[in-house]
């Protein structure tokens, strides 16, 4: 949407990431993976299962430091990072609101969260425990937590898997709605092509393991015009361009 220049992007240059199993077998998960995400841009990492998408996110989140290469985070604004994981990962012993507030830095702890909760349709759920929510609602709470921190960059790791398609589609619209309200640099991992085409400015296509960038697909259509028919056309032209990728 609003692209705030190319200043201070996310720059990723991972030379190699290798996993060693207990038996000493080593598997190269990523090799020479490099890409950039501009500020305010929504980018999808797209590739087959097991190509190292989640591994890439874990490295960028600082959860995995055992790799060679480097990356630099966007500067300016808050230097914070937010993540929406494959599962909601809410603390079951804290209410929805407490879960969101706990993720906030000290100076934002008392922030007014009403608009955010309203936008995500969670107003009535603030005092509930995660165990009382459906999976769809729990994912909304996870989105609320991520956006409440006003992060410099947002990472999403297939946040809409393992829920039925109707709920997932609703959540995608909600994600776009919060994201347009506070445009944030976002990098989302997915293996769902239509999802990527619906949400992203650009799609970075990864090869099968060891993962590296095969090419980049710019969606180049305003999100308001991405009707089902338009998405069909986009996915056809995407598949023409990347025949090798599932």
């Amino acid at each position: 949407m609003q692209r705030v220049g190319a200043a201070a992007p996310l720059e990723v240059n991972i030379a190699e990431k290798t996993f060693r199993s207990a038996e000493g077998v080593s598997i190269v998960a990523l090799r020479n993976l490099s890409f950039e995400v501009a500020r305010g841009e929504f980018v999808c990492l797209f590739g087959p299962s097991g190509c190292g998408k989640t591994t890439t996110l874990r490295i960028l989140l600082g959860l995995d430091r055992d790799f060679t290469g480097s990356f630099s985070m966007p500067e300016g604004g808050s230097a914070r990072v937010a993540a929406v994981f494959q599962e909601p990962v809410l603390l079951p012993w804290r209410t929805v609101e407490q879960n969101v507030r706990l993720a906030l830095p000290k100076n934002l702890r008392d922030a007014d969260l009403t608009p955010l909760f309203e936008r995500l349709g969670l107003s009535a759920m603030r005092m509930l425990y995660p165990g009382e929510l459906s999976l769809g609602l729990a994912r909304r709470a996870a989105l609320a937590r991520a956006f409440a921190t006003e992060p410099a960059i947002l990472f999403l790791d297939e946040p809409f898997v393992s829920i039925d398609e109707r709920t997932a589609q609703g959540l995608r619209h909600l994600l776009l709605s919060v994201w347009s309200a506070r445009p944030t640099t976002a990098l989302m991992v997915t293996h769902n092509l239509r999802e990527a085409l619906m949400l992203a400015d650009r799609i970075i296509v990864l090869s099968p393991r060891p993962g590296r960038v095969v090419g980049i697909f710019a969606v180049g259509l305003p999100r308001t015009e991405r009707t089902p028919a338009a998405l069909d056309r986009l996915s056809r032209s995407f598949l023409e361009q990347f025949t090798t990728v599932e």
């Binding site: 600082g62 990072v81 079951p92 012993w93 706990l102 009382e132 039925d164």
Partner: protein, 274 residues
Amino acid sequence: MNAREGGAGRPGVEAAPKGRKAPLAFAPALTVAASLAGFLALWAFAAAAWPSRALPPPLAVWSVFVKELMSGELPWHLGITLARVAAAFVLAMLIGTVIGILLGMSRRANAFFDPWVVLFLNIPALVIIVLAYVWFGLNEAAAIGAVAVNKIPNVVVTMREGARALDQRYADMAFVYRFSALDRIRHVLMPQLQPYLAAAARSGLAIIWKIVLVVELLGRSNGVGFQIYLHFQMFEVAAILAYTMAFVAVMLVIEIALVQPFERHATRWRGRAA
């Protein structure tokens, strides 16, 4: 496959549960009362059928209890024993929890220290008490320390299991959102360890108060254990039973008035789950 998708994930807004636990605490209390009355009746019958100084009837025990209560002897010794139980309990829980979590988190530390844990688990309580008195003298610190050392290995084993069961996803989430160390302990670590803490505390209380009596018997000149030893030498079974009953009653009250409400509070998020 299809059945699983059947709307389970639909955002059911109205799904918030209204009906909490129905308050029917009456029937269980009645059962407990009947059970205790049955026990007393059996005791009274046995004491009447085989009259002996070794088995006084409940009423005789009760009158000794009232006498000791009025003279102030019983509250004084009971208070001292309770203080020792509390001190040893706090000490054992604190030290055992810290060691247990460290061992549960570090495989290497556990590999090294596990034999120590097994060793201490298997030293008889009596040996630890005797050695504590020999090494540190017949004083309060030795008494309480000996009780705590007896309990610490149990706490370590329980809390080590708890630390091993910690969910890495919560730790990752706390890392990404930069939780402070205090928040991590309070909101991520302790709630996950709570069931293990409760288990350790439960069994801890039961073990500790029994060991405290032995410690008092061997090397203290006050407390319930000392009193029981005194009455044992004079063969006053009624007094022994009076002290025992009083102590058990106090521990029951602690369990019902402190431990259970705390647990209910700590697990409130579970009870209401839809």
